[in-house]
């Protein structure tokens, strides 16, 4: 990896911006488009300066997500490497057909004669005050669809590296960034991607409980792990980073060691991708597993009032309680 580690810290959104810049620089087939991404520099600043630097390779489109995403497929078939910005993941719903029925099928159904090397970048999740139509975490819907690669980066470094890997993948990638995390900072090595699609990040090692998480919950998982360590509980924290493909080996290895699995994500618990991971581990480990639980948002549309949304979202407290109940159960 011919990378340089920036001495300065970068925000998550700045890392995204740098990754887009570097992707445009590295491959002339890359084009970037979306709503307000060019002249206005992007609704969240992800594309800041790119139109100035790369001209018409970065352009604005009408509010026509279905055409935008369908066009990404056609452009990819035709030899470009489009990166499309969808402003909020919630808006993917108006373009779902082009993702599920078109993009995901392209390579398989053509028996590999066509491909869909494209990236759909979006951001998701609840922030205080956002309404139900601007708050969802929707990765599980897409992870159910064969043919899509799904990433959910949680750190500036991963935001950068995953986006570079996505941009150079020969297959479609949906990157679910996090609006909540956009201002958070960290060191970022630039120059290339992380190198392996689907690789989890072992955030910390531990012996009693494995916490598998991604996106916004990563930071809460670390806090929860700190908290329970005071009671002598040692948590291993895995940030999956990708849920399709996901790092089954890393998860199984960790749970084989700890015997306990807590999967935690911001997306709704019911039918969330945590269920896939828990089920896979049960199928793999059978009686080797001493206990498993999931944490996710409660099954309601996300309310706007911050005290209400806080009541249904995952939290450090919920994670701590989850860890305790997992270990207690085991004892009982």
């Amino acid at each position: 990896m011919s990378s340089r580690v920036d001495s300065s810290e970068s925000s998550y959104i700045r890392a995204v911006n740098q990754a887009l810049d570097d992707a445009l620089g590295a491959d002339s087939r890359v084009v970037i488009y979306g709503e307000d991404v060019a002249i206005p520099n992007g609704p969240f600043g992800a594309t800041k300066g790119l139109h100035d630097k790369y001209g018409d390779r970065v352009f604005d489109t009408p509010i026509s997500e279905s055409a935008m995403i369908g066009a990404a497929l056609g452009a990819a078939m035709g030899g470009l490497r489009p990166i499309v910005e969808i402003m909020y993941a919630d808006f993917l719903m108006v373009a779902m057909d082009q993702i599920v029925n078109q993009i995901a099928n392209t390579r398989y159904v053509s028996e590999g004669r066509l491909g869909a090397p494209l990236v759909i970048r979006t951001q998701q999740g609840s922030t205080p005050g956002s309404c139900a139509q601007h708050s969802q975490s929707l990765e599980a819907m897409f992870a159910h669809v064969p043919g899509l690669q799904i990433a959910v980066p949680a750190t500036p470094q991963d935001a950068y590296g995953i986006l570079r890997d996505a941009a150079s993948s020969d297959d479609p990638v949906m990157v679910f960034e996090s609006r909540r995390l956009y201002p958070t900072k960290g060191a970022v090595a630039t120059g290339s991607g992380l190198g392996r699609v689907g690789q989890a990040d072992v955030v910390r090692s531990g012996t009693d409980v494995t916490i598998v998480t991604w996106g916004t919950v990563r930071a809460w998982a670390e806090e929860a792990a700190d908290h329970v360590s005071e009671s002598g509980i040692s948590c291993e924290v895995l940030d999956l980073r990708w849920i399709s493909p996901w790092d089954r080996d890393a998860v199984v290895e960790s749970v084989s060691k700890t015997g306990h699995l807590l999967v935690a994500h911001e997306a709704g618990r019911v039918g969330g991708f945590g269920a896939e991971i828990l089920s896979s581990v049960v199928e793999e480990l059978g009686p080797g597993l001493k206990g498993a639980r999931r944490i996710g948002s409660d099954p309601v549309p996300m309310p706007s009032s911050p005290i209400l949304s806080a009541a249904v979202l995952p939290s450090v407290d919920r994670l701590v309680a989850g860890i305790h109940s997992l270990l207690k159960e085991n004892v009982a």
């Binding site: 509010i63 026509s64 108006v94 139900a132 309601v300 005290i307 249904v312």
Partner: protein, 312 residues
Amino acid sequence: MTAPPSLEDLYLRMLQIRLIEEELLRAVQDGRVTGSTHLCIGQEAIPVGTCAALGPNDPVVATYRGHGWALSRGVPAEELLAEVFGRDSDLNGGRAGSAYLSGPQYGFYGENSIVGAGVPIALGLAMACNRLGGNRIPVVSIGDGAMNQGNVHESLNMASVLNIPLIVVVENNGYVEMTPSATLTAVPAAARAAAYSIIAMEVDGNDPLAVAATVSDAREAALQKSAPVLVEAHTRRLGGHYSGDAQQYRPAGELEGWRATDPLTLARSQLTSEAAARCEQQAEGAVSAALALAEGMPTPNVEEVMTHVFSG
């Protein structure tokens, strides 16, 4: 509409909306509102004029830029403010917030934060009104940029072939978020009506009397022909797309120039100074009273956060 509304009355209504939204902008800045809001500053004449022309039970559907529509349709200011403040309002108990609130008891069937998505819903309301009778016609408002969203297209054709009376008001405010409308929309809304074989009307959206008259005509035409009517109201957004928008994309001097056609300035210039002063006093009083009421409302009860996912 039996008698045309008085300009004084319309000015009063526009002013109340303006004062409420200016207060909300301050509230976002000083933290009383968490999150962002989409204000209709500069566009007040459209909801005010439209609602003045509606029948008492005509349902209204709006976008995220919907405070003006909610208030014009009859949602009490204190309830709207409380909802935007995330309080336990009688509207939606803080669940909806600024961009997704509703008050069907007032005829306001809700804002919508998905561009264009209110149009199919309004089509369905129109199907219901058409079938169930009662001389009701729904009005749905969208922005000019929403004309490029597929669901709007589908709904206009469907309303046309099914002969459903419905009024679609397109507020052409010159911008689609931060991008000038003309660069994104090949043909403006009214000129697209021919593609659906529906009647189109255009109106100065900064003149509430003109809007009222046009919508009144539209309503009559829709009922008489049992068909949808599209009204394109030309206006200018006199602020950011949302409360945190720094508006760096605006050409220098644009906003200053546009202020000359601020509907409030225009209406005020046609009123006597006594009438204007009367309105201003009344509006300020009403808004500060509503604000006090809203700020006194309790925060939502967290214990009830799981209710109403389903009925019963």
